[in-house]
Each structure stands twice: as structure tokens, then as C-alpha cells.
């Protein structure tokens, strides 16, 4: 078993007749940057949604620091289909809600940016500190937590300074340029003090220069905040440059895994991305 930060075991997610993720197993070690790639609709975001508790998987289990956080949860008709598979392995039905998983130290960003649009940059990050607050409604209303509040505000300022968002702190989130919105979303995720950061297509819609900046940025925060990073991305330059290992997903199944060099030369990956040449089919 070892001390993997994250381990997925035989994870399957079936929506009606569509198997979005099929028997996915992978592991991520401490301090690694691991990428999950694959064509559109391969089930990458579904995998993220299962890890963060948004979806309950039909079968399989997810361990975070060797603690089970999510386990099989077949519903309706699926119950009969999956009851039989690995019953000895996954006897428990367990799904933590997304907020509980965030509290354990898993933070994420979203494919289509989900900022608190009409709030300021500062408030966006400060909200992430709420879950660390010890105040209850009464102590918060009567300002008995003033010391904690002040400390949270200081930490937020500090974080904004490190990430270079300091002079945008009073801007409304939706008014930021696209690249800064992405950066703010990462800042907000970091404010929850995670050990594992899940990035869902952070470079989507960015030009090559912005992508380069982002690559450096991810590497920087990985080092500064002692993070383990799990990233979904389509920009191959970024993926090949920063990841230690890569998993390739196609039609919900892992078709390859390995270092960037191994993946680049893997014929099955090329096939999944480019299709099979017609003359090779015979």
C-alpha cells in the first residue's frame, strides 16, 4: 500500500447506460505532479467529481492518505449490476460530502471557472477561511472572534501578496481578466490549506504565453505550499513539462501510464488522440 496521498481503486461511475469511468485505478505519491489526460468525454472531470464527493461512484473506493473517503454507492438498477463485483473488497458504502472532503485537505478548481462573481477578490479568498473558523453564530455575530477574524484577514492578504493578486484585492471577481480569474480560483483553493490540489483544465482558453506563466506558477506553488498536484489538462506542452507521471484515459479506461517520455512514444495514446490510420486497420 505505501503512503500514497491519493489512491483510486477500481473506480466506476455509470450514468444510466453510459459508463463514464470504468474500473479506474491510480495512485499519487506525496509531492508529485500527476496529470490525467485523454480526449474529450474520456471521464476525466467525472473522476475529479468522484474524488471531491460531488458524485458517488457506482463501484470502487477512494483513499486519501490511506483513509477511505469515498466508496461504492450503486443506486437503483445499478445495485444489482454492481453488488457482485468485488464485494469482499468494498463492503462499505461511504460518501463524504464535498465540504467534508475539502476539510480533509483536498482542494479543487473547476473547468468552467466558478468564482463568487459579485464579491471582491479579497472576499473570494477570505471565504475559504470560513471552514477553519472556530466561531459559532453567536460569537461571530457579537464579534467575540475578532482576533481570529483579524488573523484570517492577515493570512488572506499574505496569500494574495505571494500570488501577486495584492493590488487587485478590491476588484469585483467577474471584472478580472481571464488569466487572473484562473489565478484567483487557484488562490481560493490554496486558502483552504490543502495538501492535495486538483486542477481541472487550468490552462483552458489561454494563449501560449499565459500557459507558460501558468506552468511556472503551478510549479512555484507546488514547492512553496508543499503540495501534491493532480491536474487535468489538454495543453500537452504544459503537461509534458511539469508532470512527473501521466495517466491517459479513454472511454473511461486507463489506456496508458508512465513518465512524459513513455507516454509520448506510446502507440495506444497516439491512436486514442489521432485515430488509427486507415491502412493500418487490416
Amino acid at each position: 500500500m505505501g503512503n500514497h496521498v491519493l489512491r483510486l481503486e477500481n473506480l466506476t461511475m455509470q450514468f444510466g447506460g453510459v459508463v463514464a469511468v470504468n474500473d479506474l485505478s491510480l495512485h499519487i505519491d506525496e509531492g508529485e505532479i500527476v496529470a490525467l489526460i485523454g480526449p474529450n468525454g474520456a471521464g476525466k472531470t467525472t473522476a475529479f467529481n468522484m474524488i471531491t464527493g460531488v458524485y458517488a461512484p457506482t463501484n470502487g473506493a477512494i483513499y486519501f492518505h490511506d483513509e477511505m473517503i469515498v466508496s461504492n454507492h450503486p443506486q437503483g438498477k445499478m445495485r444489482q449490476n454492481y453488488q457482485g463485483s468485488h464485494p469482499e473488497k468494498f463492503p462499505q458504502v461511504l460518501v463524504k460530502t464535498p465540504d467534508q472532503i475539502t476539510k480533509l485537505g483536498v482542494a479543487r478548481t473547476f473547468q468552467n471557472i466558478r468564482l463568487f462573481k459579485s464579491l471582491s477578490v479579497f472576499e473570494n479568498v477570505l471565504i475559504a477561511k470560513h471552514m477553519h473558523s472556530h466561531a459559532n453564530v453567536f460569537s461571530a455575530t457579537f464579534r467575540l472572534n475578532a482576533r481570529e477574524e483579524r488573523q484570517q484577514r492577515q493570512e488572506t492578504m499574505e496569500l494574495l501578496r505571494i500570488l501577486g493578486l495584492e493590488n487587485l484585492k478590491d476588484e469585483v471577481a467577474s471584472s478580472l481578466p481571464y488569466g487572473q480569474q484562473r489565478r484567483l480560483e487557484i488562490a481560493r483553493a490554496l486558502a483552504t490549506q490543502p495538501t492535495l490540489l486538483l486542477l481541472d483544465e487550468p490552462a483552458a482558453g489561454m494563449n501560449p504565453q499565459e500557459t507558460d506563466e501558468l506552468t511556472a506558477f503551478i510549479r512555484q506553488i507546488q514547492k512553496d505550499f508543499h503540495l501534491t498536484v493532480f491536474i487535468i489538462e489538454h495543453h500537452m506542452d504544459l503537461v509534458m513539462e511539469i508532470s512527473n507521471r501521466i495517466y491517459v484515459l479513454d472511454f473511461g479506461q486507463t489506456i496508458a501510464q508512465g513518465t512524459p517520455e513513455e507516454i509520448q512514444n506510446n502507440p495506444r495514446v497516439v491512436e486514442a488522440y489521432l485515430g488509427v490510420p486507415e491502412d493500418a486497420e487490416d
Binding site: 464535498p98 465540504d99 475539502t102 466558478r114 463568487f116 471565504i127 470560513h130 453564530v137 455575530t141
Partner: protein, 375 residues
Amino acid sequence: MMMKKSMRILLSGFLVLLVAVFLLMVEQDKAQNGMLLSVLEKGVILAVVAVAMNLLNGFTGLFSLGQAGFMAIGAYTTAILLIPVDAVDSVYYMNGINPGIKAFKTLLESAPGAVQMAYPYLALIVGGLMGALFAALIGIPVLRLKSDYLAVATLGFSEIIRAILSSPQMDTITNGSYGLNKIPGFSSILITFIIAGVCIGLMALLIRSTYGRAFKAIREDEIAAEAMGINLFRHKELSFVVSSFFTAIAGGMLAMFMRSIEAKTFSITLTYDILLIVVIGGLGSITGSVIGALLVTASKEWWLRFFDTPLSIGGISIPLFRPGFRMVVFSVLLMVVVLFYRRGLMGDREFSWDGLYGLIKRLIKRQRPSKGGAA
């Protein structure tokens, strides 16, 4: 340019003093200022409900229409507790009062003087707690619903409460469809203002605390809020319970203001009136709700009264001016606001001394060049 904090506190203190002096002066001549007094008192009570509704609809993003129901719970609880023992038999002349309640009230009457003094306030708080209890129970199934479904469910709940309160089975407690009267009120309008101020102040403090930020996060994006470690259900329930607590307290205050209540008072139209106030004031603005409450109450009860009285110009009577026309004007007003001024009076901004200072400065600046042009 920001003002010093001490300056802002000084200005706010001065404003409070000004309001208090104004109220005392108005109250000197009750007969002359009867309309003004009742508009002010009702306005400030509705302001509490409006801010409570804003906490839920404007800040947490939960579209609830159950306000009238929670007001009814608070009003009836407070009223039953407050009706003096001597008056009980004449109030419940048809069906008699539940002996348990009467025994309890008689027991309270023999309590020491200090308790007697605090009793009206305690009755209001008990009413509020009753509202909060019902909100906590109803919230468990209802808060899983989204947007319009939540509105329909809470609206239904409010109607159920009204039906139960006026049902014959409740005769010995709520006096059924006869309603309750002889409810003692506060001796001075100042007390109503102080209670309302405390309620609104508490809600404002909550909204500006870490919990208020979590509420706003839920309003902005539920999925992202959850990913930030905010427990959706717990925070929605909290917002719902707090909002209902203050709504029920305001219901109790309304009962004390009106001196007599019946179930019909708390029908859907009451919720709509409050919704109108919140929308006119601006969703997401506390000061907007307060200003909206005073404005709407004043126009409805006072300034726009002439729409309801027959009017004739030059001997020809205008056919539209008859009882009820005021409500038509009001509905049109709501439509106009929703169509053209969707953000209401204040939008989601709040009143601040700095804002006022800036506004005055801008007005002066705008005037100067025009003066120069004229010369």
C-alpha cells in the same frame, strides 16, 4: 478619501439621537400626529421583516415566501402570552380558553415585579423562538429544494399555518376565526424603534461576519461554496432559522402594535407587501430594506390614500378612484420597478457616511462648472 472611524461613530450617534428626539416630539401630540406615528411604527416593524427576508433571499439566495406564516406564529404566541388574565374571558367569550394556558398566565401574574417589567420582551423572544423552532423543522425537508420550488413549498407552509390557526380545533388556544384582541402594546413608540433597531443591528452584524460571507458564497455559487468547505445544508438551515426568528419577533411586535389580530391578517398579501419592500429597497441591501419599508408603508397607508376616495374634477367624477384602486397603483408600481429599476433604490450597496460624503461632493462639483458657464 475615508473618514476617521471616530467621526463616523460620532455622526451615527448624532443620527440616532436626532431620530429619538424627533420621535419624542412627534409623540407629544398623539392626536395631531396619529397617522405619522402609526406609519412610523408599522414601517419600522415591517423593516425588521424586510431585513430578515433580505437575509434569506438577498444574501443567502434562498427564495422563500413563508414570511407571513412565521409572522403569524410569532404574533399568536406573543399575543396569547400578553393578553391580561382579567381580559381573557371577554376575549375568548365564544369557546373559553384552554385551562392550562389560563393557569399558566395566572401563575405568571403573581411573579415578582422585575419579571413583570421584562415580560413583554420575553413574550416577543418566546414568539421568535417558536418561529425558529418551526423553521428548523420545516427547513429539513424544504431547504433541499431549489429556487421556485422552495418558494412554492414555503408559500404552502405559510398558508397551512394560517389555516391551522383559524381552525375550530384550535378554538381554545387561538380563538379560531374570532381572532385575538385586547393585546397590550408598548407605552412609547421609542421602545418599538429600539427593539427593531436591535433586531436589524444583530442581523447586520451577522451578515458582516464570517457566516454572512459563507451565506453570500452560497448565493453566488453553491458548488464552489461546497468546494470551499462550506456545509450547504447547515448554513442554509442557519440562515432560514435566524431569518424566521426575527420575522416571528416582528410578528409579535405587529400584534402589539395592532392590539388585535386574526388569521386573515397573515395571508399571502402580507408576504407580497414585504417582497415589494425588499425589491424596492434592493435585494442584498439592509439599508435599502429599511428605507423601502418606511417609504412603502407611508405611501400605502397615507400618501396614496386619495386613490381610494372618490374624486371629481370639475363636477365629473373620475370612475377609477374607488376603494381598492390604491392596490392597483401599487401593483403597477411593482411592475415598473421590476422592469426598469431591477436593482431597487440601493441595489446591493449599503448606506455609509463615506458614500454620502462622496455624493455631496459630486453634487457640488457638478454644480460649479454650470455656475461658471452661466457667468
